[in-house]
Structures are given as C-alpha cells and as structure tokens.
C-alpha cells in the first residue's frame, strides 16, 4: 500500500527525515509515535501530498503523492482546515462534491454519534468539536489510506472514548490507517503495529503484541524508555 525508500527531508539545514525506509500493508492500524519534532507530521504531510520537496521514493498504491493519491488518501491534519463560516452540512457538501469515495450517510451517522449539530457554524464550535467534525469528514470517506495526525490530542477523555469508538466503527477493514500520536497509553490497544520515530529515524517498527511479549511492558512504557534514553544522550 505504502512504500517508502531512502526518504530524506530537510527544512533548511535541519534534517527532519533521515534516509527512511518503510513498507506498510493494507488492513492495518499503524501507530506512528514519537516526541514532538520527531518528523511525524512531516512524514504524514509527504504521504498526503502536501509536501513535495523531499528526496527518495514514496509510492502509495504505486503512484507518487499527487492528484491520484489524494483521491484515495484521507488526511486529518492537526490544524483546522475548514472555512470558519461553514456549518457541518456545508463541509459535508464540500467533501461530497470533491471526493468520489465520500459517504454522506456515514458522515451523518458519525455526526450523531459524536453529538454534533449539523447546522452549527464552525466559527462557534469549540476546538474539540472542530476536531470531531474534521474526523467525521475524514472517516466518512471510504478511503484506502487514512492519515490521522494527533486526532485525540485536543479533546477530553470522554470525547476521546467517543472518537475511538467512532474510529473503530467507521474504519474500513481493508484499508490502512496511520495514526500519529504522542498519547500512546490511550490508544495503543487499537494498533496492529507501532512505529517509533525519533529525530527523523525509525527506532522500532513492530507488532504491538510482539512488543508486549518481548519486553513484558506496555507499548507506552517501552516508548518512554526508548525516548528517555534518546533525550538523555
């Protein structure tokens, strides 16, 4: 599904991704975890087709990120990317017009599930509500790849549970979901596989149950250990 070979990306003289190689298959939920500034967002932006000045080879279903991959990749950025004058229904219309794989029924179902009012303007929504709306739009697509950047960072624990339920309900079983987060303990059970990213490099790329078996610890604990070492170095 996703194939990355020798991917390098710099911002000026700062190296953000260093010679990365990665293959990700379909039907999986992959946790992309790492401290702030480890390159998670940059990697997702490259996969989403937003950043194009990288070196190396990135293929999604055989195509480089571009118009073709945008049609099958559903990206949830950290930012609010909807116009603030829109109501939920307007945003749904917009997505429905542009994405052939958008499922309006699914979107409405999710709005109800997440307790959002379709007529409310984005301007008057709280940050959490905006995040829920964006997640609705992103998950209502029957996409082949979902890229979620910190989808639960800005919400309270109750909403977090609601979102997790919605994610598990709406997730297409044969698609690939890459879920970037630094709140591992809340979500590690929904991962198949986890990738630890530190300073632009993959430190660990393993099945989560394998990690628990190998270390006798939760993924969160292993994460803390791996990165406390890195930070102290």
């Amino acid at each position: 599904m996703i194939s990355i070979k020798n991917l390098n990306k710099n911002y000026g003289s700062t190296v953000v991704l260093k010679d990365m190689n990665l293959e990700l298959g379909s039907g999986r939920i992959v946790g992309l975890v790492g401290p702030n500034g480890s390159g998670k967002t940059t990697l997702l932006k490259i996969l989403a087709g937003l950043t194009s000045d990288y070196t190396g080879k990135v293929l999604i279903e055989g195509s480089e990120p571009g118009v073709d991959t945008c049609a099958i990749v559903s990206f949830l950025p950290e930012k609010t990317y909807l116009s603030d004058w829109m109501r939920s229904v307007d945003a749904i219309d917009y997505f429905n017009d542009f994405y052939a794989d958008f499922d309006r029924l699914k979107a409405n179902e999710m709005l109800t599930q997440l307790r959002l009012n379709p007529k409310q303007k984005i301007k008057t929504m709280s940050k959490g509500m905006q995040e829920k709306l964006q997640l609705t739009l992103v998950m209502a697509r029957n996409a082949k790849v979902y890229l979620l950047d910190e989808p639960i960072a800005g919400v309270d624990p109750a909403t977090r549970s609601l979102i997790m339920d919605a994610l598990l309900k709406q997730y297409c079983e044969d698609s690939l979901m890459v879920f970037a987060t630094h709140l591992i303990s809340d979500v590690e059970r929904i991962f198949d596989q986890v990738i630890f990213l530190g300073f632009g490099e993959i430190k660990i790329n393993e099945e989560v149950d394998r990690i628990r078996e190998k270390y006798g610890k939760s993924v969160d604990e292993v994460f803390r250990e791996v990165f406390s070492c890195l930070v102290s170095l």
Partner: protein
C-alpha cells in the same frame, strides 16, 4: 466498564481468556452466534485484527466455528464448554495455590484455610448469592 486488560502482555491472549470466560459462564450461550469482529473491537476498544486473532485461537481450540455465510457460532458441544470451564477453573486454582505456597504455606494449611474461609461464608460466588437483606460488600 472496568478495564479488563493489562497492557503489559499481549492483548490477544487476554482476549482469548475473556472470550473463554464468556463461553464458560454462559454469557455467550452454547450454539449462539458470536458478534462480528467489528462489534467486538468496538465493545472492547481494541484492534479488529487482535479480535480476529483471538477468535482464530478459539476456532483452533474448537470452541467456535465459522459458517461461511452466516458468521461465527459457539460450539454446541456441552462437553467442550465444560472442558473450558474446568480448564479456566484449574488455572485459577493453580495460580491461587502457587501464590499461597509463595507466601510459605504448606498444602495442609492451604486446604484448611480455604475450607474455613468457605465455611464461614465470607466467600460469595460470582453470582453474589447471600443471605437475604445482607448487603453486598464487593466493590465491582
């Protein structure tokens, strides 16, 4: 719902035990249909492939079987279910006995203490059956 999992060990193995308990105590009745993978994943808030893996393990142990069109079902074989219950019971007892012996008790003492405990009715079975009017003291 209290958290049934411990993140320190593989979730799929814990799911196998949880599912077996449900079959053993009849929450999942003999011959009944098993919820879909997606439903179970949502119910337990775990990865669908993890549920799949646990169910595959149950299938391997002949506790559930798939019918191509209509989904998964619990075995109708009462003996198999009884076997699972006995197996789980054995696991509990072994763990209990191990812990007691780690505390330094010999077999005779363990037996005697257990017998006393049960006789004094401080023990309540998992259905919470007690004398009428008496309050439950369990916290779960």
């Amino acid at each position: 719902m209290t958290d049934p999992f411990d993140d320190k060990s593989p979730i799929y193995l814990q799911l196998v035990i949880i599912f077996k308990e449900k079959i053993a105590n009849g929450t999942w009745p003999v011959g009944g249909r098993v919820d879909t993978v997606r439903d179970l994943a949502v119910q337990f808030r775990v990865n669908p492939n993890t549920v799949q893996r646990a169910l595959a393990e149950l299938e391997r142990e002949k506790l559930v079987f798939s019918e191509r069109t209509s989904g998964r079902f619990i075995t109708s074989d009462e003996d198999t279910v009884r076997g699972v219950r006995d197996h789980l019971a054995n696991l509990c007892i072994r763990e209990y006995a191990d812990r007691m012996s780690r505390l330094g008790y010999g077999s005779d003492v363990i037996l005697k203490m257990t017998e006393e405990y049960i006789r004094e009715k401080r023990f309540s079975d998992n259905r919470g059956v007690r004398e009428k009017g008496e309050e439950k003291h369990d916290f779960d």
